[in-house]
Amino acid sequence: MAIAEFLLFVLTTTLGGMFLCGANDLITIFVAPECFSLCSYLLSGYTKKDVRSNEATTKYLLMGGASSSILVHEIELQEIVNGLINTQMYNSPGISIALIFITVGIGFKLFPGPSHQWTPDLYEGMLHSWFSSFRDYECNRSIRRQKDHPKMIISWLLRTNQIRWFFFSIFLTCSYGTKVEKIEKNQSFTTTDEGFLEKLRIIVAFLSVTSKVAASASATRIFYIPFYFSSNEWHILLEILAILSMILGNLIAITQTSMKRMLAYSSIGQIGYVIIGIIVGDSNGGYASMITYMLFYISMNLGTFACIVLFGGLPPLAGFFGKLHLFWCGWQVGLYFLVSIGLLTSVVSIYYYLKIIKLLMTGRNQEITPHVRNYKRSPLRSTNSIELSILFFQN
């Protein structure tokens, strides 16, 4: 397990994600998520010796491969429709079929409601292998002497974490501000958060977050621009997806005993909220609210996965503004049912976040408590700065 391959996979994944966010035509929309997905299969199967991570990678590969092929089928139908639309076939059934295929294809990537089966397995398998080997690394000095070990870099990054949180959050909010301006002027939709993720965070966090960000960015582009005339149909489809994912994600998360699975299911629920933002669209700043929520989601999940200590009370607080904006935009457009379900499931999600905090305070996990004291300071810093700058930019 040399370090050269590891860096190569991480960088290529990031490259794929960035291409996806800046995609302007159908070929890029196919090739970029493929590039991203292939490298993330390799990342998830990086620890070859661990059987659980192998199994998780297998599931991820098969599901990801199936979804990519469904997506390419849709792209082919989409291109046919574009070719035929010159001969005036506006409301043909071909458009509806193409729409269904692309919703299924993108649905697998983003994992909203019905396609969420592989997510908890993936997170559990990967996190298990990474974190058990990481714990061995910290406790065993003979491994530490190997200079080219990827865990050496990761542990160094985690130990010198606090100042970077501060600068990272400041920079992130500055870049966020410029992006919101671009969205409101309907310019190109690019996110460059991934470029800084790779320098600072651990791999599972990276994978989980960037795939969501890239997929949701591409989803907004795909649903809004080519399918503009049939917007009623994909509104209905996305509403169904959002409801299913919010309900399923939050309800199943209550019954989980493994923390990694709980985090996976909570991330499924978050995607439901993000989909509301996609549905709302450009009027009333729907895209802006989605980006805001994505930002909170990024910082929340990165911290979570990076040290398995959930900044748990804080997501309901820091992410509160993001959710508020999302629900406010949804309410203004008229999605009353969706927003009410979102509110209910947010209340439910607070329950399992608080459960983690309770575990944290009672200090049952012995190996985490040294890290807890290190990281308890950093969430306060990061979320405060993000909140203040968000409020500032919204004015």
Partner: protein
């Protein structure tokens, strides 16, 4: 040759390979079905570009991209299959019961 015949062929291939992907117990067979899906889509692309786009051949170019990506995906899938085989000495999918709910 009529357009519908070729479209029926590619739809048939697509559905057979999705069925094979879902219900195959062997990992290598699942990878082969994945390749078949992408090939079915390629047939569709080439057919449509032949019938509607004789000047620019956009569908043909797209199918070249799809071929390249299918090859890369097969390579990565084979790497994962070989790492599983080294750990377990078998490639059956229904033995993967470690990560349960």
């Amino acid at each position: 040759m009529m357009l519908e015949h070729i479209l029926v062929l590619s739809a048939y291939l697509f559905s057979i390979s999705i069925y094979g992907l879902i219900t195959s117990r062997n990992m290598v067979r699942a990878l082969m079905c994945l390749e078949l899906i992408l090939n079915a889509v390629n047939i569709n692309f080439v057919t449509f570009s032949d019938f509607f786009d004789s000047r620019q051949l956009k569908g043909n170019i797209f199918s070249i991209f799809v071929i390249a990506i299918a090859a890369a995906e097969a390579a990565i899938g084979s790497a994962i299959v070989s790492s599983i085989y080294r750990n377990r000495k078998s490639t059956r999918i229904n033995q993967s019961t470690l990560l349960n709910k």
